[in-house]
């Protein structure tokens, strides 16, 4: 499975050492938390995820090729 991770604005600022887009190859289904840790991203830093454009959650298991967008924390109001 080929997983593409996109970092959004807030995350780019905090994880400035990482590229905006990353690709990973998965050999077995994995939760988003596991995928993030494998990519070197602390899951606590991710506020919202979308999987193929749909709102997801960090416990969701990914078992297919997917485009995943990671939205970092933001200030409110």
């Amino acid at each position: 499975m080929r997983i593409t991770l996109h970092l959004s604005g807030g995350l780019k600022a905090v994880l400035s050492h990482l590229p905006e887009e990353m690709s990973l190859q998965l050999e077995r289904p994995a939760s988003l938390r596991e995928i993030l840790m494998r990519a070197g991203i602390n899951p606590l830093l991710v506020m919202v995820v979308t999987v193929d454009g749909q709102r997801g959650n960090k416990d969701q298991v990914i078992d297919h090729d997917a485009e995943i967008t990671l939205i970092g924390p933001m200030a409110g109001g």
């Binding site: 959004s8 604005g9 807030g10 919202v48 409110g76 109001g77």
Partner: protein, 631 residues
């Protein structure tokens, strides 16, 4: 010709009814850009030292930026400034909506209000026509109903700001309202407007603005709008707006709960962004030219009746919901509506109410003193406190002073849980395990406000729970590790220059901060509008100048201002978080001092937090250095 600007400052002396229009000085635009920069410099130059915030001599400044009102993303921002009745120092507040653009189309970059109207009045502005009109009929009315009534009378094309009873009664955290749910919320701006006997300002502008490259701006503005909406985060962020952060703030244990006694609210899923969308929202609502409407206009049905309200956005959820521990999003929305109509800043009002509830819980204030029992989690208690405060009736007269003054009067240890810095109540991030965010609150120029530097993400990223630790531990949630203290100053200072820069330009920062709309676009837009080539670093240098200037203003105006003004309440350095993800954590006085020492050194301030003469000269404030030396 000053491209991008309307070119005129409109000054109204409310006492004499004198109206004066003067050209916008080119050096003011060059050295301070606009918005917050104009506010900071004009306050420094025009306010007589030690002016009482409620006196006619205080100024209320409404300023736009060079990008305000142009056809580019999120150009609807307006900046307000004054000498704060909450802190006695520098004060400003930023507001979305449509007022600033309308002011510019009427021909004015800045509206400068001084004096006090002899009777309740409102200011009418339609292009060149500027009149002070009677407003006795609306005095005592709510902020929302006043706006609706004025719109009926003048027409929907007028953009209107109003105050509610809280502003009229000089509640030190009264706000200015606009567009049925947008506020210049913080620092007591609305109380200054009330002290000026000014109920509202209505403006309609039909003019244009000079643009350096109109064809280029049209193309760039359109493409920028499309690029923002194409950002990968757009679909995930916009539907819930700022309320969408509620889950995450609880996950990392930073959610203010029970007057900041703890930092995790077990009922957060009843008041989060999903609840807003599912149970309240009717439609999205955005500001002028906004590609990412974060406002959620909705209807809340409660046992006290139905209300229509914009929001609640995150800060109102955190303070009215978490800090006062309301049980449902409908209750939060109802309390939000009550604040909006009364003209109370939801953040400070919620903080004050939570302090009163804790005083009651601890037996420091009795039911007789308050007028009834007031308990966390009880909407009736909260609404009672809000109404009493806005009217300054009974206990409300004490609460209207804000937690710093109220706790000084009540004593009995209540000072330790009066959650503020410099007299401004704390916003929605509990920071006992977030040293960067704590430093940001401590050093924010207006008091405990998050929007100068929001460093919580950096704290979580830099915590001991690095991804490698997590992998080896086989987990990534549950308890947070104790954050390392030290090294936070650099990122906090960088953020303190970036975020307020948007308040100078006159555009919203969310497209940059949350969606990653690149800085190159802002450099290009600034050039196309103004014809001035400034790199992002050039713009940040102006923002740094303003930061030193606002600090200098508070040094000049507040007796004894300095290091002691920067400490958080004792709760945060004495009481470990009792439960939740950050259980056991707090920042000791020694750690707070380490944060301040690093920060002052990096800023070029002395050990007492006063900008040095050399620093002020370096950033182009030699005259300010001289003035401080003479004080």
């Amino acid at each position: 010709m000053l491209f991008g600007y309307a070119g005129t400052i409109l000054e109204v002396d409310l006492t004499a009814g004198r109206i004066e229009k003067t050209p916008l000085p080119e050096n003011l635009a060059a050295d301070y850009i606009g918005g917050r920069g104009f506010v900071a410099r004009l306050l420094w130059d025009k306010i007589t030292r030690k002016t009482d915030p409620f006196s006619p001599q205080n100024l209320l400044i409404i300023a736009t930026g060079p990008l305000s009102g142009h056809l580019l993303p999120a150009s609807g921002k307006t900046h307000f400034g004054t000498k704060s009745p909450a802190t006695g120092g520098y004060a400003d507040a930023n507001m979305g909506g449509h007022f600033g653009p309308a002011l510019k189309y009427a021909g004015y970059d800045v509206l400068l209000l001084t004096g006090r109207a002899p009777q309740p009045s409102y200011l009418f502005i339609e292009d060149d026509t500027v009149e002070l009109r009677p407003a006795e009929a609306w005095w005592g009315q709510g902020a929302l109903i006043t706006e609706a009534t004025l719109k009926k009378e003048l027409g929907d094309t007028f953009k209107i700001i109003t105050i509610g009873p809280a502003g009229e009664n000089r509640v030190r955290f009264a706000c200015i309202s606009h567009d049925f749910g947008r506020q210049a919320g913080r620092t007591g701006i609305g109380a200054v407007m009330g002290a000026k006997n000014l109920k509202a300002v209505a403006v309609k502008g039909t003019g244009g603005l000079p643009v350096f490259d109109i064809d280029g701006l049209y193309e760039k503005g359109r493409s920028a709008f499309e690029k923002v909406r194409a950002k990968p985060g757009f679909a995930g962020w916009t539907p819930e707006g700022t309320a969408g952060i509620t889950d995450w703030v609880n996950e990392v244990g930073a959610f203010p709960t029970r007057n900041f006694q703890t930092s995790f609210f077990p009922g957060y899923q009843n008041i989060n962004g999903k609840a807003v969308v599912k149970r309240l929202k009717i439609t999205d609502k955005g500001c002028s030219c906004c590609p990412t409407p974060c406002g959620k206009y909705g209807r809340a049905k409660t046992g006290r009746g139905d209300v229509y309200v914009e929001g609640p956005e995150y800060e109102s959820i955190a303070i009215l919901g978490g800090d006062c521990t309301l049980g449902s999003i409908e209750e939060v929305a109802f309390a939000n509506y009550v604040c909006d109509e009364l003209g109370l800043d939801t953040i400070s009002a919620g903080g004050v109410a939570a302090w009163a509830m804790e005083c009651f819980e601890k037996g420091i204030l009795s039911a007789e003193q308050i007028g009834r029992p007031v308990r966390f989690g009880d909407l009736e208690s909260l609404v009672y406190l809000l109404k009493k405060t806005a009217a300054r009736e009974g206990i409300g007269d004490l609460l209207a002073e804000g937690v710093m003054r109220a706790s000084a009067q009540v004593g009995r240890g209540s000072e330790s849980f009066a959650i503020h810095v410099k007299g401004l109540e704390w916003t929605g991030y509990e920071s006992r395990n977030a040293p960067g965010m704590m430093l940001a609150y401590m050093t924010a120029d207006v008091g405990a406000h998050h929007n100068r530097a929001w460093a919580l993400g950096h704290d979580v990223a830099g915590s001991a729970a690095s991804v490698h630790d997590l992998i080896s531990a086989g987990r990534d949630s549950g308890k947070m590790a104790k954050s390392r203290v030290g090294g936070q100053a650099e990122s906090v200072i960088a953020l303190q220059h970036i975020r307020p820069l948007f308040d100078c330009l006159g555009v919203c920062r969310l497209q940059y901060m949350e969606l990653g709309f690149e800085v190159e676009h802002y450099e290009e837009l600034f050039f196309l509008v103004t014809g001035r080539k400034m790199s992002w670093d050039d713009l940040l240098a102006v923002s740094e100048r303003i930061w030193h200037l606002t600090r200098a203003f508070s040094v000049r105006e507040v007796d004894g201002f300095g290091r002691k003004s920067d400490y958080p309440p004792p709760r945060f350095s004495r009481e470990p978080v009792p439960d939740g993800p950050n259980e056991g954590h707090f920042l000791s006085i020694q750690e707070l001092d380490m944060l301040l020492d690093e920060y002052y050194a990096a800023r070029g301030w002395d050990q007492n937090g006063i900008p040095t003469k050399e620093t002020l000269r370096r950033v182009g404030l030699a005259d300010v250095a001289e003035a401080l030396a003479r004080r």
